[in-house]
Amino acid sequence: MTEHTRVLIIGSGPAGLTAAIYSARAQLQPIVIEGEPSSTTDQPGGQLMLTTDIENFPGFPEAITGPELMANMRAQAERFGADLRTTKVQKLDCSARPFRAWLTDDLEPSVTADAVILATGAQSLMMGVPGEDRLLSHGLSTCATCDGFFFRGQDIAVVGGGDSAIEEATFLTRFASSVTIVHRRDSLRASKIMQERAFANEKIRFAWNTQVTEVLGDEKVSGLAVRDTVTGEARVLDVTGVFVAIGHIPNTTLVTGQVDLEENGYVRTGLGSFTNIEGLFAAGDVQDHVYRQAITSAGSGCIAAIDAERWLESQGH
């Protein structure tokens, strides 16, 4: 059976849940498809579910953990009547209005919606080198907060040079005896405060201009084969754990071929959250490759909810 909603929100990170809070308070009774449990970043609560302390979300002077923050946002959305479903959208058809969404593989769509807010976020990129797939969860990880504990007293590496790489490296020094940050360039992209923290940490070392060529190990990680991007020299880093934090790709599978994307694959939004498809709004990391913060994502979810509400009004819905 197909049900109809005025606003369908896809995603339940800060963008999706903030959009849900605003739409629910505007009496739009949004349906929120929050995703299914997974250990990537494509899951209810989004990427913050895989973090520890959030120190820069205003209103929490003593920091709050990512999972707690998301549980709070979820409870707040529910309190105002958002209808949260712990499942995934299999298919979305934006070619005609109302938009149609399938939550099962039935022929009939499960939900039709006057407006859709796409807040599907982004997920971790993998390196695409030999050994990576085979050794995932056997010493190779994309989630320091999940797996760091198991590397107590070991020498490990973090691959990447952005904020998340530095945050993971700093966190991992709680357990590991040393953490080598392997970065393709000779400087970090991470924010100043994160960089200073890393440089001041005695357990953190840097392998600059270094590219990973293979993850070594039979049953579990025994080393990391790397190449110097300047001299071309190959060597092996003696590590028993590897954490990959090289960036993200937006989760756009549902709308690929339907909506305008930027050259780098992110959903193109013009003013506010408007996409090129009327009635389809995008918020959070699926359309933001610049700021990518919990707070900007929440703000963008708010913008999308207000845009959607005003647009629905203009359409006489």
Binding site: P37, S38, S39, M49, K88, G139, C146, D147, F150, E219
Partner: protein
């Protein structure tokens, strides 16, 4: 009327798992693990709905390092399915309920 989830420790693990009449699914988890929290309600559902097929135990890896090390658990959540005291399936990472049940059932 469902059964409950048994809390396992380094001290009780071998006895409980070794003497379990039904296959036992052991959840290696920790308080600080977000994905573990996501699958916790699913395991409670299993304990209630699947108790005729398998039972469920959970082991906090924070305080039971020996058992986690013994089974080479390096990533959580990890679910190990034991039959007659032997590991018959290893499921790593949080997954949707249907996918988990399918993998477990295939190995019962």
């Amino acid at each position: 009327m469902g059964t409950t989830i048994t809390t396992l420790t380094d001290a009780t693990f071998d006895e409980v798992v070794g003497s379990s009449e039904k296959p036992i699914l052991v959840d290696f988890w920790a308080e600080w693990c977000g994905p573990c929290k996501m699958i916790a309600p699913i395991l409670e559902d299993f304990a209630a709905e699947q108790s005729d097929k398998f039972v469920i135990g959970k082991l906090d890896v924070d305080v039971n390092v020996a058992t986690a090390t013994k089974f080479s658990v390096m990533s959580i959540p990890t679910l190990l399915l034991f039959k007659n005291g032997e590991v018959v399936a290893r499921l790593v990472g949080a997954k949707p309920k249907g996918a988990l049940l399918q993998e477990i059932t295939a190995n019962l």
